[in-house]
Symmetry: C2
């Protein structure tokens, strides 16, 4: 195998740590970096370091944000009576892009997965329960339509059982085995409209 110069190989290795980036793509990325201006590369490096320093979890919903509360939890126009429970903050973005949902979110930061050893206590489930007060009318469980997502949905719905709220689940539209952040907008709208009671 040909040897790349040391600094080339190192950046190539860094790019290869990104998801779905193979050797060929990583090489293309390194050449792209080489053709960028010094300033552009400096900004790129700065953005990498800054994101780790600036981003934190919203105190209320665990969504990614830069302040104590995320933009959604801070927004007085949102309906605090409806909580959409999602696996990750990626899913918040996917839902927000649809522009139909007016409630707030609760990010679990994962899914219960017996096979991967992820237990309910590893997720933000306990503080979801603490949030259920008189104001809350509905909890929409919008975990992925995968095995782990369904287990998580089932688990949460059982915990909420007996509370005087509607517990619903996104229904039609999400393909079985599909992940929420891969769904197109129309599918997401359908899923939101057709949500069913647990």
């Amino acid at each position: 195998m040909a040897e790349y110069p040391n600094s080339f190989q190192k950046l190539l290795d860094s790019f290869r740590r990104l998801p779905q980036v193979g050797n060929k793509a990583a090489i293309r990325f390194v050449y792209a970096v080489l053709s960028m201006s010094d300033e552009e590369v400096r900004v790129f490096a700065e953005n990498l370091v800054k994101i780790k320093q600036s981003l934190r979890k919203c105190k209320q919903c665990n969504n990614l944000c830069e302040e104590e509360l995320c933009n959604i939890c801070k927004n007085p126009a949102r309906d605090y009576g409806t909580i959409c429970v999602v696996t990750s903050s990626k899913d918040v973005v996917a839902m927000e892009n649809v522009g139909q949902y007016q409630g707030v979110y609760h990010v679990l930061d994962g899914e219960i997965s017996p096979s991967k050893g992820v237990l309910p206590d590893d997720l933000h489930i306990a503080n979801l329960l603490l949030k259920i007060d008189d104001r809350v009318k509905e909890v929409i469980i919008a975990t992925n339509s995968t095995v782990d997502g369904e287990i998580t949905a089932m688990y949460i719905s059982k915990l909420l059982n007996g509370k005087p709220i509607i517990v619903s689940r996104l229904a039609h539209g999400i393909p079985i085995g599909g992940q929420l952040d891969y769904a197109d907008e129309r599918t997401l709208i359908k899923a939101l409209e057709g949500r069913t009671r647990y």
Copy 2:
């Protein structure tokens, strides 16, 4: 559209400048960075900045390297009598991976392209000619088999015309493992013209 936190959007924008990286891939990359350790991200950022500082062009062949001469030009075991002329240092790596070529290289850093306004003077053609001395026996022109690559090959072969050296071009034909009915007509004609005896 949902708004990402500022630092998230900035890194997303940086990733989107990489070739063939769309919005979905860039988002996946940002999340991957968020799940990396602080140290890993610091190294990534450092690698980005370092490559611009450390990499330069080999004084002899214009290949990417970190010292005055690249590893190939520095290697006394290489055959300095054969020069393989390529478009970019990517092609040096492709050729080296084959592990069959023992000569040295000359990187043009582009191809003559009338449509893109790239003229012979914009490439490292003049210093290729200066390199042709008594030691050189053969120049293999290995530019791409595209219109620009062929123009460049033709131009260089004409400049070398009259020198007491062999000027050759990589063979055209059916790729190994390729199917005849998938080959385009011009490839088939070239393959037929260049047929070799068993």
